[in-house]
Amino acid sequence: MNPIEVEIEKINDAVLEMIELVKAQLSRSRDSFMNSDEELAHQIIHTETRVNSLELTIDKYCENTIARFSPVATDLRFVVSMLKINSDLERIGDYAESIADYVLNINHKLEKTLMDNVRTDEMFNLAIEMLELIADAYATDNSKKMKKLFAKDKVLNQINKEKSQVIAEYVLANPSTIHDCLYLHSTIKKLERVGDHAKNIAENYIFYSDAKVLKHKK
């Protein structure tokens, strides 16, 4: 293997690890949130330091590759894309941690009707499916699969759009649940942001893989 390929391989492995780690964090944040599992919430918060440290490692690998090898063509697109994907993944990790924080603050299970009305489970599942798609497409080097997640992001956006009305109606009918409702509102918002970051990841991956710029194009 030529020296730059060794560096590219290191970045590739680390990003793959980051995707799996963040996917697991988000998946646990769903379980923790849906079941008010505080033990799991603590684990998520604890694991966040691993996400942060892996982000720094990937940054370091990318900087090293740029400094020492002046990558061009596919290598250049790879390094530039991975730097951005890394930062999107780290943000998704942050959201998983924030949701775990909410679980600890709420301190009890939310009303099932409230969660169902807002389509909370569906929102979590869609966000996790987006990360599963990323993991699969990345590991198999398949940009077509990556494109599948754009449709999921649209559903996430729709649920997010409807949430305020649904939650407002619920609060009017059940004023004592105002705190729960605010936390749920924020959680849905976080998941919508997860979708945006996942979409960025797909766009950046496609830039690397197909040399196409999809960003800001309708």
Partner: protein, 259 residues
């Protein structure tokens, strides 16, 4: 009519189906290339790929190589430079060349810069002085040598000598400058000066540079041509070649994965 005029002004240099041979050795295999005025074009490719031979065709430097033959035409401002009525000396005044190793004459700095004018018969002292200053300024050397124009050119550093050779080329007011690895024998600071100079010179001149330094090609050129085994594999905007080359051979070469 207007359209035709615009069309004919579009390219400074046009190569049409160029084949070249050293004896029976086929070194350039059917190259077509259009080069716009006031641009920098980089020729890249492994040793022996034909890029220097192709460069030297543009000012007929291969003419006197024994056994050298070529077919196809090269047009400079729409005129065939291999036409029978073209005087090679006149062509080389129009198409200047800078070589890999600085090759100043063992004369003073002033005599080096004004050499081309003198052989054209220009002897007026103030004309010569004016040209010397203008050329040395254009070559970003004036400030370093202005108090010492009588000093031997050979006493200058390698980087200064190369800029002197560029000044000598500029003095005869060419419109095209060919550079064959002009910075390969220079340290990074002198290299940076030459590259900065290339960037400035393209305002007035059309520049073609042969380089083995990929980063140099990507830094200084507007368009890049990748040659391999006598063929032009890919020719396009430098940004496209270095970010998204269309041909696998180009990608492998520029990313150092050849062979």
């Amino acid at each position: 009519m207007v359209n035709r005029v615009m069309e004919t002004n579009k390219f400074k240099i046009q190569a049409k189906d160029i084949h070249a041979y050293y004896g029976t050795h086929h070194v350039i295999k059917g190259i077509d290339m259009d080069i716009k005025p006031n641009s920098v074009t980089a020729f890249i490719g492994p040793s022996g790929c034909g890029k220097s031979t192709f460069l030297r065709l543009i000012n007929r430097m291969n003419d006197y190589i024994e056994g050298f033959t070529k077919t196809g035409d090269i047009l400079l401002d729409d005129k065939n430079i291999y036409a029978s009525n073209v005087q090679v000396e006149q062509l080389r005044k129009e198409v200047g060349m800078v070589f890999q190793k600085p090759n100043p004459f063992p004369k003073s700095i002033f005599e080096n810069v004004t050499y081309g004018l003198k052989i054209q018969g220009i002897t007026n002292k103030s004309d010569l002085e004016e040209t010397a200053e203008r050329s040395l300024r254009q070559a970003a050397l004036w400030e370093e040598v202005k108090d010492d124009l009588k000093k031997s050119a050979l006493a200058l550093s390698g980087g200064q000598q190369q800029r002197l050779c560029i000044a000598r080329t500029l003095a005869v007011e060419p419109s095209v400058i060919l550079m064959d690895e002009p910075a390969s024998a220079l340290d990074p600071i002198s290299t940076a000066k030459i590259e900065e100079l290339i960037f400035e010179l393209k305002e007035k001149y059309t520049i073609i540079i042969v380089t083995h330094n990929m980063q140099q090609a990507s830094r200084v050129s507007d368009r890049t041509a990748f040659f391999y085994m006598g063929e032009l594999i890919e020719y396009g905007k430098t940004k496209q070649i270095f970010l998204n080359p269309k041909k696998e051979k180009t990608e492998n070469y520029i990313s150092g994965r050849f062979g």
